[in-house]
C-alpha cells in the first residue's frame, strides 16, 4: 500500500512540476540589443540568375518483354533518348522560377514548373505520365466494336497496360495573417485492364480503360499568434468514356463503372495554450452517382439517384504536463450515410431462366475512434510510451452490425547506451461485437459457422524490436524484428489464424571521404490458416498459406578518382516473393508454383569534364521471373477462356550516356 502511495505521490509531483520547455523560436528572441543596420553580409553569397543543371541522355535498351518498362521508364526498345532539367532562376528582388523535369519523352516522366516570390505568392504547373505494364502479350478472341464484343476465329495479342496523364495547376498567395490556394488537377487514364464477362461461361477480357478525373481544391487559412484555422473545399468528378459491354447475341453483359462526383467542405484548426495543443477538423461531404442505368426488363428506373452523405469530425489534444510527461488523446468520428434510393431489380441466376427480384442495399457505416496515450521520460536514457485505442464500427445490413477493437500498447525507448537506440513495442488488441448472425439481405444460404474475417472476434498480439547502433561515426547498423499473431478463436469456418514475422538488417558505412557503402537484407513470413466446409456444417477441409519474402540490396560509391574527376558506383537489388498453398481434404495437396524474383544491377561512372560539364555512363540490368500455376492458356479448359499465360521470364539491358551541364 505504501509503495503504491509513493508511486502515486511521485507521479503527482512530477505531473505538477513546473513545465520547463525551451522555445528558441525567432519570434521569442530577445532582440533589444540587435541593430540590423550594421548587418552587411559581405561574406554571404547571393544566388541571383540561373542555377541548376540541364542534361540529355541517349542510349540503348535491349529487351523482349514490355514489363521491363516499369523499371526502365519507357517501353521503347533499341535507341532511346531523354532530357532532364533542374533549373532555378532568381532575380535581385527575390522573384523565382523553377523547372524540374525527369525523363521527358518516356512513358514514365514528369515536369514541375513553379514561379513566384516565396512568402508572397507562387504559381505551380505539374505534368506527370505514369504507365504501368502488366503484360505485352495478353490474348483474346474478342474484338471491341462500339461497346460490342465481337468474336473472332483467331485470338490476337494485345498489351495489358494503363497510362495516367496528369496535369495540375496551383496558385497560392501568402500574407502574415492569411493564406489562400486553389488547385485544379485533371487525369486521363487509358489502356486495358484485365476483367471478365459471362458468355454464359466466363471469358476473360482486356477491359478498355478510358476515363477522366478532374479535381478542384480551394482553401483559405487564417492564423494568429497561437492559433490557425483552415477552410477548404474539395470536389472530384469522374467521367468514364468507355461503354457498357454487349455481345452481338447477348445484351449488356457488363456495366461500365458509372460517372460519379464527390464534394467535401472541411474546417480545421489548431489552438495552443501554453504547453497544450488542441487541433480539430470537421468535414461534411457528399458522393453522388446518378448515371443512366442499363435499360432492360426488370429495371424500374432510368437512372439511380445514388447519394452518400459523409460527416467526419476529429478532435486531438496533446499536453506537456511536465518536462517528463506528455499526455494526449483524440476522438475521431466518421459517418457514411447512404441515402441512395432503393428499388427492386430483376436478377438472373445461373441458367438465365430462373429470375428473382432483389432490392439494392444502402449500407450505412458509422465509426468512432478513441485514443489515449502518455509518454514519460523515466530518466535521461529511458522513455516509456503507453496508450489505449478503441475503434467502434456500426454497419447496417451486415452479418455483424457492431464491432469494436480495443488495443493496449506500450513502447520503451532506451538511449542509455552511447550510440545505441533500442525501441521495444508490444501491443495487444481484441475485437468483439454484437451477435453474429446470418442476414437474409447479405446471404441466403450462409454456413452458420462462417465468421467473415473482418467482422470476426479476433485477438491480436504484436511485438516489435528495433536497434539502431552507430558504433563509429562513419558506420551505422540498424536491426529490427517483428512478430504479430492474429487468432480468430470463435471462427470455425473462415480465417482461423494468421501470423506475420520478419527481420530487417541495414548497414551504412562512409568508409572515407570518397567511399561509401550500404547493404540491407530483410526476410518476412506470413502464414495463415483457414477452414471450410463442403457439407454446410463443421469444417471438412483446410487451407494453409505460407508466404515468404526476401529482399537484399547492396551498393558502393567510390569517388575522388582521377584528380577528383571520376566517381564509380554500383547497386544491386534482389527480391523474391513466394506463396505456398496447401489444401488438406482427404490428404494434403500443395498448389503449384506461385512466386516471382528479380535481380537489378545498376553500375555507373561519372566523369567531370570541367567544373560545369559531366558525363555519366550507366549500365542497368533487370532479370525478372514470375510464375503462377493459376495461369492457363487461352482455351486450356472449356469452363473459362483466359487471356493466356501472363507469366514473365526475361533479362533486359540498358546502357545510357548522360551529358549534363551545370548552369
Amino acid at each position: 500500500m505504501n509503495f503504491k502511495l509513493n508511486i502515486i505521490t511521485a507521479s503527482l509531483l512530477l505531473a505538477s512540476a513546473p513545465v520547463l520547455s525551451a522555445n528558441f523560436a525567432v519570434s521569442q528572441a530577445n532582440t533589444t540589443q540587435v541593430d540590423q543596420q550594421n548587418y552587411q553580409c559581405k561574406r554571404c553569397e547571393v544566388n541571383s540568375g540561373y542555377r541548376g543543371n540541364v542534361s540529355v541522355a541517349a542510349g540503348y535498351i535491349e529487351s523482349d518483354d514490355v514489363h521491363v518498362a516499369n523499371a526502365f521508364g519507357t517501353d521503347q526498345d533499341g535507341f532511346v533518348a531523354t532530357a532532364n532539367a533542374d533549373v532555378q532562376y532568381q532575380n535581385s528582388e527575390g522573384y523565382q522560377a523553377k523547372l524540374n523535369t525527369h525523363q521527358l519523352g518516356y512513358e514514365n516522366s514528369f515536369a514541375q514548373m513553379s514561379a513566384g516570390k516565396p512568402g508572397l505568392f507562387t504559381v505551380d504547373a505539374d505534368y506527370q505520365l505514369i504507365t504501368t505494364y502488366q503484360s505485352g502479350d495478353a490474348q483474346s478472341n474478342l474484338y471491341y466494336d462500339q461497346g460490342t464484343l465481337v468474336n473472332s476465329t483467331l485470338p490476337y495479342a494485345f498489351e495489358l497496360s494503363q497510362q495516367r496523364e496528369k496535369i495540375a495547376l496551383q496558385a497560392e498567395v501568402q500574407h502574415d495573417m492569411y493564406q489562400g490556394y486553389v488547385q485544379f488537377e485533371t487525369e486521363d487514364k487509358s489502356g486495358y485492364t484485365s476483367s471478365s464477362v459471362m458468355n454464359p461461361s466466363p471469358v476473360n477480357i482486356g477491359l478498355v480503360v478510358d476515363s477522366t478525373t478532374d479535381s478542384f481544391t480551394a482553401g483559405a487559412i487564417l492564423n494568429g499568434a497561437n492559433w490557425l484555422t483552415e477552410l477548404s473545399y474539395f470536389a472530384s468528378q469522374y467521367d468514364n468514356n468507355s461503354q457498357d459491354l454487349s455481345f452481338t447475341y447477348l445484351d449488356d453483359v457488363y456495366a461500365a463503372a458509372p460517372d460519379n462526383e464527390a464534394h467535401q467542405i472541411s474546417l480545421s484548426g489548431q489552438y495552443q495554450l501554453d504547453s497544450t495543443v488542441m487541433s480539430g477538423r470537421f468535414i461534411v461531404g457528399r458522393m453522388i452517382q446518378d448515371d443512366d442505368l442499363i435499360s432492360m426488363s426488370g429495371n424500374p428506373i432510368q437512372n439511380w439517384d445514388g447519394e452518400v452523405d459523409t460527416t467526419d469530425a476529429t478532435l486531438k489534444v496533446s499536453s506537456m504536463l511536465s518536462n517528463r510527461l506528455r499526455v494526449g488523446g483524440s476522438y475521431d468520428y466518421s459517418n457514411r450515410e447512404n441515402n441512395s434510393s432503393v428499388f427492386e431489380f430483376q436478377q438472373y441466376t445461373f441458367n438465365d431462366l430462373n429470375d428473382t427480384f432483389k432490392e439494392n442495399i444502402a449500407t450505412d457505416i458509422e465509426r468512432s475512434t478513441y485514443k489515449l496515450n502518455a509518454k514519460y521520460r523515466i530518466s535521461q536514457g529511458y522513455r516509456l510510451q503507453a496508450g489505449y485505442d478503441r475503434k467502434e464500427i456500426d454497419r447496417s445490413y451486415s452479418a455483424r452490425e457492431e464491432t469494436h477493437d480495443d488495443t493496449l500498447w506500450g513502447k520503451l525507448s532506451i538511449r542509455a547506451i552511447d550510440n545505441v537506440v533500442i525501441d521495444i513495442k508490444a501491443e495487444h488488441s481484441n475485437r468483439d461485437g454484437s451477435a453474429y448472425q446470418t442476414d437474409e439481405l447479405t446471404s441466403s444460404e450462409e454456413n452458420a459457422l462462417m465468421r467473415k474475417y473482418y467482422l470476426a472476434n479476433r485477438t491480436r498480439n504484436n511485438v516489435e524490436l528495433s536497434i539502431n547502433h552507430t558504433p563509429l561515426s562513419w558506420l551505422g547498423v540498424d536491426i529490427s524484428a517483428h512478430y504479430a499473431k492474429d487468432d480468430y478463436d470463435d471462427t470455425v469456418i473462415g480465417l482461423t489464424e494468421s501470423e506475420d514475422y520478419g527481420v530487417n538488417l541495414n548497414l551504412n558505412a562512409t568508409v572515407s571521404k570518397h567511399v561509401s557503402l550500404y547493404g540491407f537484407a530483410s526476410q518476412q513470413w506470413i502464414n495463415s490458416a483457414q477452414a471450410s466446409s463442403q457439407s454446410y456444417s463443421a469444417a471438412d477441409w483446410y487451407t494453409d498459406i505460407e508466404d515468404e519474402f526476401i529482399n537484399i540490396g547492396t551498393g558502393i560509391s567510390y569517388g575522388g578518382l582521377m584528380q577528383d574527376k571520376l566517381t564509380l558506383g554500383a547497386d544491386y537489388l534482389f527480391s523474391n516473393s513466394n506463396s505456398d498453398t496447401y489444401i488438406t481434404s482427404t490428404g494434403t495437396t500443395p498448389y503449384g508454383d506461385y512466386y516471382s524474383y528479380n535481380h537489378s544491377v545498376n553500375m555507373y561512372a561519372n566523369y567531370n569534364l570541367s567544373n560545369e560539364m559531366a558525363l555519366k555512363l550507366t549500365y542497368r540490368y533487370e532479370r525478372y521471373y514470375d510464375t503462377d500455376d493459376a495461369q492457363m492458356s487461352l482455351d486450356e479448359t472449356t469452363s473459362v477462356i483466359t487471356l493466356g499465360e501472363l507469366n514473365h521470364n526475361y533479362s533486359a539491358h540498358q546502357v545510357m550516356l548522360n551529358f549534363s551541364y551545370l548552369l
Partner: protein, 315 residues
C-alpha cells in the same frame, strides 16, 4: 592467412583513423540538460553579434556545408521570410554570445549529433513553420517518436531531399525499412521507381486522419487515384465499401493486385454460402474456380456493380 591478417590490420587502421577523426564539439562534455540550460540563458540574454552572418562566416566560411545555406531558401537574403533576411545565422543557431571567443560556448545545433532534445530543436523550425501543413504535428507519431525536423530535412543545401520527388522515398525509407522492402514485393504501387511517393498518400507532419493520411479516410485516399471505385454503386460489396485494406495491402504483397491473399482463398475467408463458394479447389490452374482470375472469372465486378441485374457482382 598472412593476407587475412594484413587485411585485418588494414581494416583496423581504417577504423582507428576514422574513429579519431570523428568531429566533436567543444561542448561535448555538457549533458543534454546542462546544454539546454546554457542555451536558454544565452537566448534570454540576447547577446547577438554586431554584424550578423559576417561574424559567423569569419570562421565558418571555409566549411562548404555552412556555405551551402546560400544555395537554398533559408539563405535567401531577398526573401523577407527567410532567416537570412532577419537575424541571419543566429535566427536558427541562437545568439552568438561569447561563442566567437574560442568557440567553446555552445550554439543551437541540429540533427542526430545534437544533444539538444528534439522537442527543443524543433521549436526553432516551428517558430516560422507553424502553418496549416503542420497543424497536426503535435499529435503526430513523428512528434511522439521524437523525430527532429533535421532528421528528414536539410536546409544547408540547394535542394532538400525530403521535398524532391526523386528522393523523398529514400528519406522516408531510411527509417521505414519494412515499407522499403514492401516496395519490392511481387505487386506494389510503383514506389521503387519513384513514380509514386510516400507523401502522395501520407503526411509526414501528421494529419487528422488515421495513419497520417492526406485524405479524411483510407478509402478517400484510394479514391484519389481510383475514382472509378468511389461510387456509390447500385450493388455494393460490403467489405469493399467499408475499407479497401480489408483485402489489399497498399504497401505491397507477394500476391498479385496487392491482395492479402489470392482468390479463391481470400474469397473463401468470407464466403461459404453455397455449393460453389465452399468447394475445394485442389489445384489452381485446372478450371474456372481456380484458373485465370478464379472467383473473379464470374464475379468480375468485385468492387461493386451498377448493372440492374448485377447483385451477384457478375456483370
Amino acid at each position: 592467412m598472412n593476407a587475412y591478417k594484413q587485411l585485418l590490420f588494414a581494416l583496423s587502421l581504417v577504423i582507428y583513423g576514422c574513429a579519431f577523426n570523428a568531429a566533436s564539439t567543444p561542448w561535448e562534455q555538457l549533458d543534454s540538460e546542462q546544454l539546454e540550460t546554457t542555451l536558454i540563458e544565452k537566448f534570454a540574454e540576447g547577446n547577438y553579434s554586431p554584424k550578423g552572418a559576417d561574424s559567423c562566416l569569419m570562421c565558418h566560411k571555409k566549411n562548404d556545408k555552412v556555405m551551402d545555406i546560400f544555395k537554398g531558401v533559408h539563405g535567401n537574403v531577398t526573401n523577407s521570410n527567410s532567416p537570412m533576411a532577419g537575424l541571419q545565422c543566429e535566427a536558427c543557431h541562437g545568439p552568438l554570445g561569447n561563442h566567437n571567443r574560442g568557440g567553446k560556448e555552445p550554439m543551437i545545433q541540429f540533427g542526430q549529433d545534437s544533444k539538444l532534445s528534439t522537442q527543443t530543436q524543433n521549436t526553432v523550425c516551428q517558430g516560422c513553420h507553424n502553418d496549416a501543413k503542420q497543424m497536426a504535428w503535435h499529435n503526430s507519431t513523428h512528434n511522439l517518436e521524437d523525430i527532429a525536423c533535421a532528421d528528414c530535412h536539410v536546409v544547408h543545401a540547394a535542394t532538400d531531399p525530403a521535398l524532391e520527388k526523386l528522393t523523398v522515398n529514400d528519406t522516408c525509407t531510411n527509417c521505414h525499412t519494412r515499407e522499403k522492402a514492401d516496395m519490392n514485393k511481387r505487386s506494389s504501387h510503383p514506389m521503387k521507381w519513384d513514380q509514386m511517393t510516400c507523401i502522395d498518400c501520407h503526411s509526414p507532419h501528421g494529419s487528422m486522419s488515421e495513419s497520417a493520411l492526406n485524405k479524411p479516410s483510407i478509402n478517400d485516399t484510394c479514391y484519389s487515384c481510383h475514382a472509378e471505385k468511389r461510387g456509390p454503386v447500385l450493388w455494393e460489396h460490403a467489405p469493399v465499401t467499408e475499407n479497401c485494406v480489408t483485402c489489399h495491402n497498399p504497401h505491397g504483397s507477394v500476391n498479385e493486385s496487392m491482395l492479402t491473399h489470392r482468390a479463391p482463398q481470400l474469397c473463401q475467408q468470407c464466403h461459404a454460402d453455397d455449393g460453389h463458394a465452399s468447394r475445394v479447389v485442389q489445384q489452381p490452374g485446372v478450371d474456372a474456380f481456380g484458373g485465370g482470375k478464379s472467383c473473379l472469372n464470374c464475379h468480375s465486378q468485385i468492387h461493386g456493380s451498377n448493372h440492374p441485374a448485377g447483385s451477384t457482382l457478375q456483370r
